[in-house]
């Protein structure tokens, strides 16, 4: 699997709007039915996946791991961390909140904490993210999410 190397990205979507969209687009029967239809179609699925890729790359620096953690990380992508840490920051964060590997960029987890806390969602960061499935790189995580296949990504029962 060749993917772009991880690079911290500053989200281009406002925090409040991101959480509003989360509520508007949470999984429900209509979306489950729609996403199952898209997934079954040889034409619609690649088109939809490409749309997701472009949208999330632009907004979050998404690398298409296919197992989106954004809803519980203040909409800052943890896969932009050079160590791809999904459970919080490493011990190398600079005193100014800079990334250990790219000191000019902010640690994605420092930013995730600030954004989540600003909306009263800091408790999301306590969730324990389980090891990811590397076979899912390149897949649409939206289709997985709406069909309830993301439920095992983290423990703790709290979620979007």
């Amino acid at each position: 699997m060749t993917t772009r190397p991880p690079l911290p990205a500053h989200p281009r979507l406002g925090t409040r709007l991101a959480y509003w969209l989360q509520r508007a687009l949470r999984p429900r029967p209509g979306l489950r039915w729609l996403s199952a239809g898209i997934e079954a179609s040889g034409v619609a699925r690649p088109l939809f996946t490409q749309t997701e890729r472009v949208t999330k790359q632009t907004l979050f620096g998404c690398r298409m791991c296919g197992q989106c953690a954004l809803p519980v990380t203040g909409y800052v992508c943890p896969m932009g961390c050079p160590k791809e840490l999904r459970n919080g920051p490493c011990g190398g964060v600079g005193p100014d909140g800079g990334c250990e590997v790219y000191p000019d960029m902010r640690c994605v987890w420092v930013e995730a904490y600030e954004r989540a806390a600003s909306q009263g969602q800091a408790a999301d960061l306590r969730l324990l993210h389980l090891p990811i499935d590397h076979r899912r790189w390149g897949q649409s995580s939206w289709l997985n999410y709406w069909q309830g296949r993301d439920e095992e990504l983290w423990t703790g029962g709290v979620g979007p």
Partner: protein, 306 residues
Amino acid sequence: MSLRDRLRAGSFAVTAEISPPRGASTAPVTETAALLRDWVDAVNVTDNQGSNVRLASWAGSLAALHAGLEPVMQMTCRDRNRIALQSDLLGASALGIRNILVMTGDHPKFGDHPEARPVFDLDSVQLLWTLRHMRDQGALLSGRPLKPPPDCFLGAVENPAAPPAEFRAERLGKKIEAGAQFVQTQFVFDVPAFANWMAQVRDLGLHQKCYILAGVGAVRSRNALDFMRDKVPGVTVPDDVYRRLRAVPADQTAAEGARLAAETIQQLRAVDGVAGVHLLVAGNEQAVPGILDHAGVTAGRAAHGR
């Protein structure tokens, strides 16, 4: 008495650190272990520290064990995927290495092979969770059974000084939830800041679920001081500490560094919830007896009366 038993008994524990050699011999580890075994309860054997290739952590741990000093085998997520990590735990347990310290690991960028591919298949929380699962459920991540399952005492690291400060105690909580039974911290130079973090740790009740060993460093030269301040990720040397160590003549830096370490140990020992100290002295192990003597701490074989 093992590190686990000493901590359970509520005795103040001391661990130190050995960096295995760059070469195909365990002799340097054996020598250092012989020096330290009367003074410390266990010794960490680093896993390619700073992303520099060294003798394998399991081999160094085995050498320490044979030299009569209990090892704490460090395991980073940088160089191995979940297959190799699980296999290494089985190997370590089979060889009698019980203490495993799990950490994310420095990025390859900082070491002697900056062009290497970083692995980071699991992060430190996920690795703790995996190892605990192997021990308690007797199964691999895949679900396949282990006969017999490994026996291990699981440790984690934390850096109380690094941002986001509000999240550091909770992050330790997450590691404990994942399986951490003890934690060793990054260098503590700023004791009041550490005490603040410990207050958050106590508020969450974490000191009752996990033994906390505070990291103490002994600066041995001006170069080492500058390197620590400017080059080691996540380490902050406060200005007053820096000035104190610069104020003495260059040939006195090591002695002053050892005095500072001993004083820091005494201060940390007074902090409620601190179960011991971890001496970050790799390469400067000779300083350990003097520091502990000055701090009035007895550990290792001397304390066990062997």
